[in-house]
Symmetry: C2
């Protein structure tokens, strides 16, 4: 293998594949990046067995291809070296077996390589009909649901985001069984078959870091045990979580005793302040109490002090409510909403709290109350 | 105590005194901020027994002073609360003994307080003749020397920066016994008495965070066992380190076998890259070898690879040098220099390396070589 390439071109693509390796992997080859130089261009690949990332630099973006070939080299070292080189032409060449030479005018690095045949074979071929969705919409889905995912490995299926497609409706759900986030998006073209997969949230968060531009679309190629994301020059593969995602459709009530409409910023600021006087050991509990068109948010840590915040709201009827919940969960839910006004949909102090944009059913946030009253 | 103040005024000053408390202190009152409301304004104070910080808000910057008095309140809580309040008028009032009420239109916080008489008495009075120095120059002194301080508590005196004043020359020195940074500054007016003090570097780093603007001057009021810094509305006190600072004046040679002049950026970039193939366990050793008007910087980690960097330089004679040193120490030293060109002053492979601006003797960086050749 021997080629010459602009430093800025190579580092842009190394920036993608470096995200596919974890430095903690005890299998050395999984800390490596594979360079596959073909006549049509350079393929870079990495995998930690959870995800795999592949990117392609076409021959037209490479200064000179002298000799095709494969090498497998420590990801962290090649990344740091190329990153610190000046933005000039970099020459990379296999000099003897399993040793490469990286040179610019004044720098020359020899790096030991791993054997190319030790690198896992990655099947990143596409299937026939991908789900196509705007990158901007897809990023928003993840932003608005991922936080509600469980971080507990005791129920592995809850560590992912469930994606269900029926006809042209994509419904994404995340829950840690104390709260739930659900987002519904209309696809431009319907799928023939129904889809019901759960993707590890950790992998989706890695994917988010790879999507720089919001313009354009992302393709989801869905298989039995994996999903392949394709966008720009990047292909990323994630395994799917095994098991059946719990049926959450019945958790969201169809009617509510009381609807409270409030300015998102007012509620956010009040809960943010009230959260200062909560304890994680006490589930960050804060209380909400309505009285006419005023709600009071309160919390306390006995040895420190207490806080009361009042907010003007609109209610749809004369019912009053006293309810307690985690300020942390409420703040996460409010952060996901983008409307100026939001509604709290309530059925009494021991029933779930639903938080929504009053003018849209696309995004539903649910929080279970904490029984204190 | 009762007063009203703009949120932005109070948080600006809390931002200063919050830096004087450490959350890890087991003495509760040392995690507190003392409010002293007098008719002339509000004094805020904090101390962790290492440093003390005091700031003053004149009555003209306070909306309303209803009743003077003292309170001592948890620094972290009052800081977070005031920070999260909207920028409106905040009322603070002692409601019952050792309890304050903080209110704005929609928020009300009750906070438990500590007893004011438990707060340490701080003597922050000035002495007669301070050392006066431009803030910009003072910040630069610390930036150019602090990194060379020892972090080992085994020789406590080396964890500080030594400041010596003779007539109108201030000389600041830091060393961890493997490297040394020395900065010399001319004062505008000479001092009558000689000064030789060592200030804990940790405290000087805290002081740096308090100096926002570079314009104006800072006063150093020097006592037997403490130094008081005064600038803007802020007074900060630091204890001094006990003991005699080692005499470092003889470490810097008067003549050199060889002077190598090189572009700072060229040398920095080469060493930065070469440092990628060094190990902390091997003291980050890199080698420098001259050959005519070329120097070669090299390093290696046997199991990973090696690197060679070449740089064009100017030498003052035909001597050649082979020398090894810590890339980390060299990078720290180079970061402190601001000139386009620098000189390496050398007396052979086992003698200290001096790094300097060729046109100024104000700043001297010294690094001991590592014996490998």
């Amino acid at each position: 293998m021997k080629f010459e390439i602009k430093q800025e071109t190579l580092i842009e693509h190394l920036n993608y594949v470096i995200k596919g390796i974890s430095n903690k992997n005890i299998i050395p080859v999984l800390n490596c990046i594979k360079f596959e130089l073909e006549t049509d261009g350079l393929y870079l690949m990495s995998t930690d067995n959870e995800i795999a990332i592949k990117t392609f630099i076409p021959a037209s973006d490479i200064e000179h291809i002298d000799k095709t070939g494969d090498i497998v080299v420590s990801g962290r070292f090649i990344y740091d070296i190329i990153k610190k080189l000046p933005n000039t032409i970099v020459s990379i060449e296999e000099v003897v077996d399993q040793k490469i030479l990286i040179t610019t005018t004044n720098s020359s690095f020899h790096l030991n390589c791993n054997r190319a045949d030790e690198f896992p074979t990655l099947d990143l071929n596409e299937n026939q009909k991908p789900v196509v969705i705007s990158k901007k919409v897809f990023k928003n889905i993840i932003r608005q649901t991922a936080f509600a995912t469980s971080s507990q490995e005791s129920r592995p299926i809850l560590t992912g985001i469930n994606m269900k497609i029926t006809n042209n409706i994509l419904e994404c759900t995340a829950t840690d069984s104390y709260r739930l986030a659900s987002k519904r998006v209309e696809l431009e073209s319907p799928l023939e078959e129904e889809i019901n997969i759960t993707i590890p949230t950790r992998n989706l968060n890695e994917l988010m870091k790879l999507i720089n531009e919001e313009e354009g679309e992302i393709e989801l190629h869905i298989f039995n045990n994996k999903v392949i994301f394709k966008f720009e020059s990047i292909v990323m593969m994630s395994r799917l979580l095994n098991g059946t995602y719990p049926d959450t459709s019945k958790l969201i009530p169809e009617t509510y005793e009381l609807t409270i409409q409030v300015k998102l910023n007012d509620l956010y600021a009040a809960i943010d302040r009230a959260s200062l006087l909560t304890n994680e050991s006490d589930k960050n509990t804060i209380k909400l109490e309505s009285n006419g068109n005023i709600i009071t948010i309160s919390s306390n840590i006995p040895e420190i002090g207490n806080v009361e915040e009042t907010i003007e709201v609109e209610k749809d009827n004369d019912h009053e409510i006293k309810i307690a919940f985690s300020s942390k969960y409420m703040i996460d839910a409010l952060k996901s909403l983008e409307s100026e006004e939001i509604v709290l949909l309530l059925n009494g102090e021991i029933k779930p709290i639903i938080i929504k944009n009053p003018e849209s059913d696309d995004l539903t946030q649910l929080i279970l109350p904490i029984r204190t009253y």
